[in-house]
Symmetry: D2
Subunit: 390 residues, 4 copies
Amino acid sequence: MAITGTTDAGAGPIRYGMVGGGQGAFIGGVHRIAARIDGEFTLVAGALSSDPARAAASAAALGIAAERSYASFADMAVAEAAREDGIEVVSIVTPNHMHYPAAAAFLNAGIHVICDKPLTATLEDARKLSDLAKASGRLFILTHNYTGYPMIRQARAMVADGLLGDLRLVQAEYAQDWLTEDVESTGSKQAEWRTDPAKTGVGGATGDIGTHAYNLARFVTGLELDMLAADLQAFVPGRRVDDNAHVMLRFQGGARGMLWASQVAVGHENGLKLRVYGTKGGIEWSQEDPNYLWFTPFGQPRQRITRGGAGSGPAAARMSRIPPGHPEGYLEGFANIYAEAARAIRAARTGAVDPEVIYPSVTDGLEGVAFVAACVESSRANASWVKLGL
Amino acid sequence: MAITGTTDAGAGPIRYGMVGGGQGAFIGGVHRIAARIDGEFTLVAGALSSDPARAAASAAALGIAAERSYASFADMAVAEAAREDGIEVVSIVTPNHMHYPAAAAFLNAGIHVICDKPLTATLEDARKLSDLAKASGRLFILTHNYTGYPMIRQARAMVADGLLGDLRLVQAEYAQDWLTEDVESTGSKQAEWRTDPAKTGVGGATGDIGTHAYNLARFVTGLELDMLAADLQAFVPGRRVDDNAHVMLRFQGGARGMLWASQVAVGHENGLKLRVYGTKGGIEWSQEDPNYLWFTPFGQPRQRITRGGAGSGPAAARMSRIPPGHPEGYLEGFANIYAEAARAIRAARTGAVDPEVIYPSVTDGLEGVAFVAACVESSRANASWVKLGL
Amino acid sequence: MAITGTTDAGAGPIRYGMVGGGQGAFIGGVHRIAARIDGEFTLVAGALSSDPARAAASAAALGIAAERSYASFADMAVAEAAREDGIEVVSIVTPNHMHYPAAAAFLNAGIHVICDKPLTATLEDARKLSDLAKASGRLFILTHNYTGYPMIRQARAMVADGLLGDLRLVQAEYAQDWLTEDVESTGSKQAEWRTDPAKTGVGGATGDIGTHAYNLARFVTGLELDMLAADLQAFVPGRRVDDNAHVMLRFQGGARGMLWASQVAVGHENGLKLRVYGTKGGIEWSQEDPNYLWFTPFGQPRQRITRGGAGSGPAAARMSRIPPGHPEGYLEGFANIYAEAARAIRAARTGAVDPEVIYPSVTDGLEGVAFVAACVESSRANASWVKLGL
Amino acid sequence: MAITGTTDAGAGPIRYGMVGGGQGAFIGGVHRIAARIDGEFTLVAGALSSDPARAAASAAALGIAAERSYASFADMAVAEAAREDGIEVVSIVTPNHMHYPAAAAFLNAGIHVICDKPLTATLEDARKLSDLAKASGRLFILTHNYTGYPMIRQARAMVADGLLGDLRLVQAEYAQDWLTEDVESTGSKQAEWRTDPAKTGVGGATGDIGTHAYNLARFVTGLELDMLAADLQAFVPGRRVDDNAHVMLRFQGGARGMLWASQVAVGHENGLKLRVYGTKGGIEWSQEDPNYLWFTPFGQPRQRITRGGAGSGPAAARMSRIPPGHPEGYLEGFANIYAEAARAIRAARTGAVDPEVIYPSVTDGLEGVAFVAACVESSRANASWVKLGL
């Protein structure tokens, strides 16, 4: 029961700001909880909304001093960079099309960036942001939060340790049903921007959840894609982006896979599942029951490895806060990305790199946007095989 | 608790014979149990093996009179047709390449046929057999046994009754792991013929289990395929047929699907699963837990409908023998095909057709063989879209 | 995949008769299917109902010759014993209070007995029948059918092999909900006799299903009871026997347990579950998902052992008919009792005993009736500790 | 998807202190995370250890100012009460025997108390503390954290709304295996104090986890105990408190129940389960999968209600932070107790009481300690029926 994840931020919390995430938003609140859980961060500045009144009210409600509630992210980047007690890192939680300009402003101001996924709404923006982030010398952490789940870390370690042998198959899926009907026309703010290509990008389900499934598959297996063939569909009449994606995958080295992302699969809430099979073993993990990793060594019974329990190793333990049998969930997984970010930021203060720290990077973000673009391109070409345009 | 499935064969059992299924075979024993469960059939003749000694020994062990143990199916068809007390129906349980000649012999002799799946090893044979069966006026029952599971009947009825609304998505899979290694080279008789294209046909996993998944999808949904795109693979070096198949499906009317069949997915025994989603609901069923059907009406909690329990209707009840909570399994599902066959045969004696009887037909068999052929053709053309060559 | 259970009765089926089980009965049909599955038995005589018309009609429907359909079990015992081709064994499937007189008649006539459980309706009858059966030299097989499930055999073997270490705890339960309301007053024939003390005995849920849970606990663990304390209740107003039983168990040697039997637990169909814990391991099994046995060796991950799969040994294999992943169910488990009976009967023809054959005996039956009596006695004494009156 | 639980503490966090919870402790860290998640609390003072060096180091690591790190809780209570910026509430996370003196000191100083469970190590202390707390006019919140799970709130609301009808049965269990061996003799600090009657009280498993199961049963059902009969056992030789408890329950009004608490049940981590059955429905909940509540309305299929999904109402929603399908866990449930505490504290500033706030009180704590005492008394009297000594 060596739980190493709890930190309690003895060294004093890291000052951070937020762009987006004002009242009524969903993911901003999640980021703030994630930042709070370990006490590693303190929120001191924000450009929380493009609506000035909402921005101010949101800031006040969050205890941000009025003078550090900014009307625009551009102002915020400049002003915070100039302060002695300015933020070290900014969390960007806007709709997708604003990721690039906001992130660019902070990177250019020398401020680390934590950014929600997908990286950007367009592949062009993604390439520019990737180049900029790499040139900036600043940290760029993409919140592909599912990579923060302890049992996903465990799975990745088991693959790396060869427990599955040579990988053959990857079956990934992310099924939801909240877009089964035309809710974007009936007042759902979340649905509105997530189905508007100008805000969300060319992919619908592909971008919103397909990228998560794809990122998770890569994260656990370490495989790189060779090419894909995609059959996208918008089942709801009038919908401007796909709400269902069927994708066949060919990885470099010969492994193959399937990926299914759907927002019209009635009965699913956040059904992200990953299955990986190799010559020596197979694993299975489901986001809705994240404390279990099912592992079958070939020729042996299926095992249920629990987070922190027997068979669960150090890769999971450093991402855990409590003993096995007490379930951790989505927020803790999300917080683990922030915990990794905190470690990276503290190390970066002296120019160091903590070799144990793992987080999704701007490169992963570019890969995700390229995945969406490739899916759309393939589907338009009648599901022809397409390589990623990295 | 209206259980209507048990028949106890008051009218006297139907005389049947068997081709194949001698000592050491697997599926022949299953057919015999299926035929016995309701007491509807009695085994009186056989050509149980191409090896005469094994044929005779097998017949004796099964209580078949010596003079009705035949050296060849051809002899058997002729001799039984000539007997007053000859068989009414024959069960053909040989390897796939023998299905056509054996079935043809009995149809030509005026004897009904129950035949294991897939229909034949080649599409050419399948077409010929389909034509012959239709012309013969005899019954042809293909043992796609999974269609006999009560909750599959329930699912089919729910789709037909509109509980799922307009269908959008079909996700089918059949995952096994018994061919993870090169067992065909190390003495497994089952593996040997099932990976030999001359005996099994052009498809490996595709033919052996992919056809089951495909048939089940069609049976439950009533959808007809428009086209498919398949990516087949033989992961085990030297294997002559596919051991893994990834298939994208487009159905007539606009529904889409994916199908995965694998014999190298470590951790799976007979993981046949079907999920269907429509505008109003979704269902999920797994062969390894066959007494449950999961149903989500859109906007309501997920329900676990049990065989014979609340929410389970007459379509399931007529295929059930015991009350809910007492699990039925694979053999009962298989026996239900035989029970339907018995009803059809008794009706056919007077030229009647029992309108409630449902069983997979020679047309379904042709469809299955065409599915395998299309998968192979598509995969050879780099996963191009292909229509079935019916 | 060494499946050894299928027998196909090469040696010719055993002639058997049936007492009870006429049209409209439930358990008689189950016995007949169980007898048919392996082809080991053929039904040739019966006293199927105390109503002569129903007896005759039932016999005709089952293909029993008219002269071997008897008006009473007494006549049947005498007549069949006198026939050259008389039955070797009789199946008694009447309500409980008739078990004793019927069984006595056949044992006295020198005919083996297969009898439904509980053994008798009263402890006095049970003692007499136990003495008679032992003195008779005939076989007496009690259909505590759950002991026929392959994974129960596996569990028993694992306990015997010491994989659980010294046993500490047994948690057994059998939960149903079909008597949640007063259905015995509204026309349910099954409910009527099962809640009538004159027919069912002093225990309601205790006798009908508690005996199954208790028998299963003993069968798997090999433990013998020291004493019990029971708190019985009839929740439905007017019900004459208990519909819920809470029982604490103390076994000889120090292990302890709890047993819960209920017929008013809404949401349960046939929720028979057994959990056993020792110093080295724990196991868990559920009748509604009988192909899985969950095993945790202390300090290791929980394993899901499947019937016939990795970790499943010969004790399960000799009770199996088909490969792992193809579920077997209640009827196959029931048939396994008949399969064991067939082996025992064939051995008994030459005075031999097959050492591998395991079945619940008249002694187990006496133990079960004594368990019910002790529960009732304890509950009347305000849940005092009571020893079994064997 | 009306998620109302997230607060983000706009009104400014509540100052709190902690007694116990220094480096190496488990539950103190959990309390701190729970206090941080919503940003409602800020930790400003502590008496974190009876070892002064450890106390100081722990305080420093947590960012507590040196002058507010106290050598004793007595000093802390006095000093903080005297400060203008003193703590409003203290969290007491020591071993059980220190709960009473510590809580008394703060209540006497006019400071609200959040206290870990069980309330005290002895029934005498529990009575005194209960009286003191009621007389003090201060808030007393006991962290029976499982009452904070959203689906437990949902279950409680469903019972209160009559969806289960009149309650008949309560089956509660809490199974662990971490004390399967004599770890208290081999260096486990947690095991040492939890098996030492001087620190933990007279109950072992009974007090540590049995109280949780008992509290949860009462919380969900609203039932009050009439009497219990308990059979306790210490299976591990030399253990000074029970490690397994079997308890039969009789509630006022006629409902009955069983409770099982074990720390030697191999294969269980934190297996807290609650099942409740009434005349109209049944529910089932498991702590290890806390986002699901299984509900069967009598005569309908079993439903899986997910946290925030269809069928989940406002009682769950006010305890939730994120949408359905994104699992919440133990820490969020714990944080919900702190969130309720925060609401109660803010209301108490003006003498108000928030009618929606629900938390386990000192009365619940007294009930729990009385439960342990009654179990021990009953067990010593050979499982006689005992009433709670409230």
